[in-house]
Subunit: 227 residues, 6 copies
Amino acid sequence: MGQRILIINPNSDREVTAAIDRRLEGLRFAGGPELSCATLEDAPPGIETMRHIDEVARPLCDLIEREDPKTDAFVIACFGDPAVASARETTRKPVLGIGEGGIAAALNHGARYGIVTNLAGDVNPGLRQIRALGLDARLAGIEAAGIAVVDLADKVRSRSGLLGAAARLKERGADVLVLGCAGMVPYAGELEAQTGLKVIDPVFATTAMAICLVQAAAGGQAAGARG
Amino acid sequence: MGQRILIINPNSDREVTAAIDRRLEGLRFAGGPELSCATLEDAPPGIETMRHIDEVARPLCDLIEREDPKTDAFVIACFGDPAVASARETTRKPVLGIGEGGIAAALNHGARYGIVTNLAGDVNPGLRQIRALGLDARLAGIEAAGIAVVDLADKVRSRSGLLGAAARLKERGADVLVLGCAGMVPYAGELEAQTGLKVIDPVFATTAMAICLVQAAAGGQAAGARG
Amino acid sequence: MGQRILIINPNSDREVTAAIDRRLEGLRFAGGPELSCATLEDAPPGIETMRHIDEVARPLCDLIEREDPKTDAFVIACFGDPAVASARETTRKPVLGIGEGGIAAALNHGARYGIVTNLAGDVNPGLRQIRALGLDARLAGIEAAGIAVVDLADKVRSRSGLLGAAARLKERGADVLVLGCAGMVPYAGELEAQTGLKVIDPVFATTAMAICLVQAAAGGQAAGARG
Amino acid sequence: MGQRILIINPNSDREVTAAIDRRLEGLRFAGGPELSCATLEDAPPGIETMRHIDEVARPLCDLIEREDPKTDAFVIACFGDPAVASARETTRKPVLGIGEGGIAAALNHGARYGIVTNLAGDVNPGLRQIRALGLDARLAGIEAAGIAVVDLADKVRSRSGLLGAAARLKERGADVLVLGCAGMVPYAGELEAQTGLKVIDPVFATTAMAICLVQAAAGGQAAGARG
Amino acid sequence: MGQRILIINPNSDREVTAAIDRRLEGLRFAGGPELSCATLEDAPPGIETMRHIDEVARPLCDLIEREDPKTDAFVIACFGDPAVASARETTRKPVLGIGEGGIAAALNHGARYGIVTNLAGDVNPGLRQIRALGLDARLAGIEAAGIAVVDLADKVRSRSGLLGAAARLKERGADVLVLGCAGMVPYAGELEAQTGLKVIDPVFATTAMAICLVQAAAGGQAAGARG
Amino acid sequence: MGQRILIINPNSDREVTAAIDRRLEGLRFAGGPELSCATLEDAPPGIETMRHIDEVARPLCDLIEREDPKTDAFVIACFGDPAVASARETTRKPVLGIGEGGIAAALNHGARYGIVTNLAGDVNPGLRQIRALGLDARLAGIEAAGIAVVDLADKVRSRSGLLGAAARLKERGADVLVLGCAGMVPYAGELEAQTGLKVIDPVFATTAMAICLVQAAAGGQAAGARG
């Protein structure tokens, strides 16, 4: 039977889940794992505060417990990595957070990474998260675009805010950028074009890492059989 | 036309290259990139010293220059990450080192990682590499198995040395292990079984990350087209 | 009208709350703030996992919201600092966690502090918390007593386990100890006597800090009036 | 007999001592410890250089030795923490420095703290002190007001200089400010009002911590008696 | 027989070697070691990229091997410290790199050091080198003069670029500057005069340290004989 | 007129000063600076506590002030670096401490350094000093020999204690040792012989660095004249 990765959008906005689902199309291939995307029902429409991060932990772990028997790996698709530690206690399957996964991927692409975040108030929580992850040595900075999650649909303001943040990160020495919010993905191409820097989409990068894991387990068995 | 990843074994031992090639079988799939493994001819039979690391840089960059037109990403399959920075100046394609890639993968699997290395003399160079990578905050330790690269074929001694090093790393708080040498891969299953810890094979993990990159580029374009 | 500090025991064990209440007697004085202790009803009987920490966040913030109008400062009496960041978004009154507060107090008492924790599995989460707090430079270590929270009533085993952990921390260079669990408070005197080190009870130390804050606000106004 | 805390102003300016004495009024309460403020006679009128810090050590330790029999805790009221380590060798009573104490208090009030200092030349010594304290991870910055200690009486210049420094610290991410000089206390209210940030007066915060200690000792004994 | 230190210019520009030779005149004294300067023939005319650094390793180690029997210490006169680790495996004589040596000297002259480098692209590799050296805590910054190595002969542009970089480093808190390129030595006096900061010439400082080593070995023997 | 370096033994034991004077013989050469050694009269016979370190600051700065007109550089020959920051405010001539100087020298000799200190109580103050210096990244450890300064004349006990500490440092990864006390110099040869590690005598290394500085100033002027 085939393998399955569950990518959980821990907010209740089904549009976001659908966009993630489309975005992952490039990672679906014959013989590869099924990539299933789920919306967390009992959650706010966007994860914007520490309280949101804390509060989605309970329904997230409940969902993971229910899905555990038919799932081989989980991706929690919010940059703040809500409930990742809890989820790892809940299931023995791999659980990846896109904050940790996105930064881990960025490390392979440049000397120092910069994070584009939504609002100025996200910077200190972001720094705390990165200290907790122990990944601050190569952080060039976190810069806010000045655009709330819900305003990312406003293309003119978003473009300008995101490009400004990206330019400041480049000025501060970043040579790879990580998008701090799934809603920024549509602007990734423009950011790459304008700054000349590689832009990491953390949902894509982390899901790819989860696929590797699942394949590694299979590959490892095969190798073991051969070895 | 299909995409291609070149995995370079930067020592001249073709047996090692063949083993890597077999090991990566689990990452080959229909529609996925071609995974090509190359041996570096003008190189010592094993990379065991800082001088080896420095000296393979020139032929490694020459090889990458020659292969650049027909390659989409490069993996340098030596844990010391020889010539990775140089190679990134040599080609605009992604270049991943398995030291950085293996540790980046391990970050997603545990609170603190431990590295199993060959000999006691490898510890300080390893610490320097990890400081340069800025990834020391979550390192539980580096422990030597007391087995030179060339002695890894001796199963009795290797098993005992590797299990001892792994047990010491667990004692020091590691909950995920990274193999510091490609020759240790055949013992990965036993290490997992005996310690109960996840063991990362850095060649496999880094190649998987390179596949993601290549797919991400393709996927990104597709998403762009759709978005 | 007088001021009030609410000390919240975020587990559902009323015995623990009662013990905290008695323990704080020494901080009650004429003219000082009322010290009220509350039990979190919708919570496990002990906070022993990351999932417990995440899951009490919602009821904790709800309780703080309800108590906010009649409270001047909050103390969250669990060393893992559950929901502290969320609670700071929920009320404009000061919110102190006893993990951060206990360590901050310890900094004033010695060159390097050691934390006595319950079980070996608490060490890596503890290290992550301390990295997030940015307070690792003076940490001598975290040592587990090998006694689960529920077994702390077993005096013989607890005494032996706690003294062993304390001795190892002293050996590693700690000159002040922080109790990593409220249930260890009854053993504090013995630990001080046997090791010769100052032992910090983080509930007491953090509540004292909260009293200062409340007095500082009052004092500040008085000083302002005079200035 | 009641308990006594000695707050030592380690410069010879009696005006400063008197201001500290008034400022601490809010921490005096029935049943609480006596708060005594002393001026260090054999000292410069202000502590402005490293040489001042080193030179007051001898008279400071002499004073502490003389006062030791009738004192339960000492506070050294200079942000540079002169002689704190020496004093801890001189007496077995707790000795708190307001640099360490003020920053420890600030940790409980915000994600990252900023220090307002007098002159640009104070920044590098301040950074060295904070490295020695191991508290740099959450420092947003040290900014100089451009006002010497003796010029803090000039309200127009001081207000402007201090507000400028505070605004730059907020810009750099501080969400709590620590006053780096006792002479800045009269401006604390205005700084809070203009920046919207909590401002820590380190003399007040550290004296409060010393009171807690003294009460904790008493409380601990009482608790021990009861336990 | 007298002692000999070999200072190796690892690029092929004999003018640079000659300038180094003249510069070291002040370190030649009766009874002191012979200071010999060599040009690395099989090398690019300037070390400007990571690939240059990697590629000179082989001829550098070959040269050191040939010169080993008649040499007592080696200095590698390029700020990027090419092949220093390899060279230390190649000879048992001391090998000093001017990057590590220049920064180590600067530590003795100020609270925080700044590095003047050539181009903006040198900053991130420089940060990586300093992380590997573990010497980042006292780094005020690296600032680029905007002048390529080959353009350092253009006095007007160089003066302006170097002074600008030095002024920015002073602004960022540096109180001692380290020249990041041998070609900047002729401007050292002007930089000191204009900024008021001590400027370290790393070739001079590191060669002096090598002389000490050689004398220390002799002195140590003498002391041993006496002791 | 010739140049002069004053090496100050900041304790009042003239035997120690005489031993330092003999030890520096290997650094005296024709045309080199005069090396003068002084005993600090108003000082304890050994610097063994933080209070000693603080208390010698005043007479040390007074001595430096008096000697300033006829001196070109100062070395403070106590590993705790007493009054170094103060002294740098007192004179414009270079002031080197042997703690900072000895460690800076050690950085050029190995991957990680270990410090041999006298007593267990010296370890935490030593760690604080090294944090203040920002040089902890490459510290393998500080190990106490268990021999007080005054007992270093007891050859049997000292040899055994020092060799034990050195062996533990080697076990912890040190590949270069720094003597944490001038009285240990007579044992340096044996430590090198038994451990196979380079042993740094910090008085010698730092005085050598001071000589370089003095020569550099002269050399710089000469170079300037030529340039």
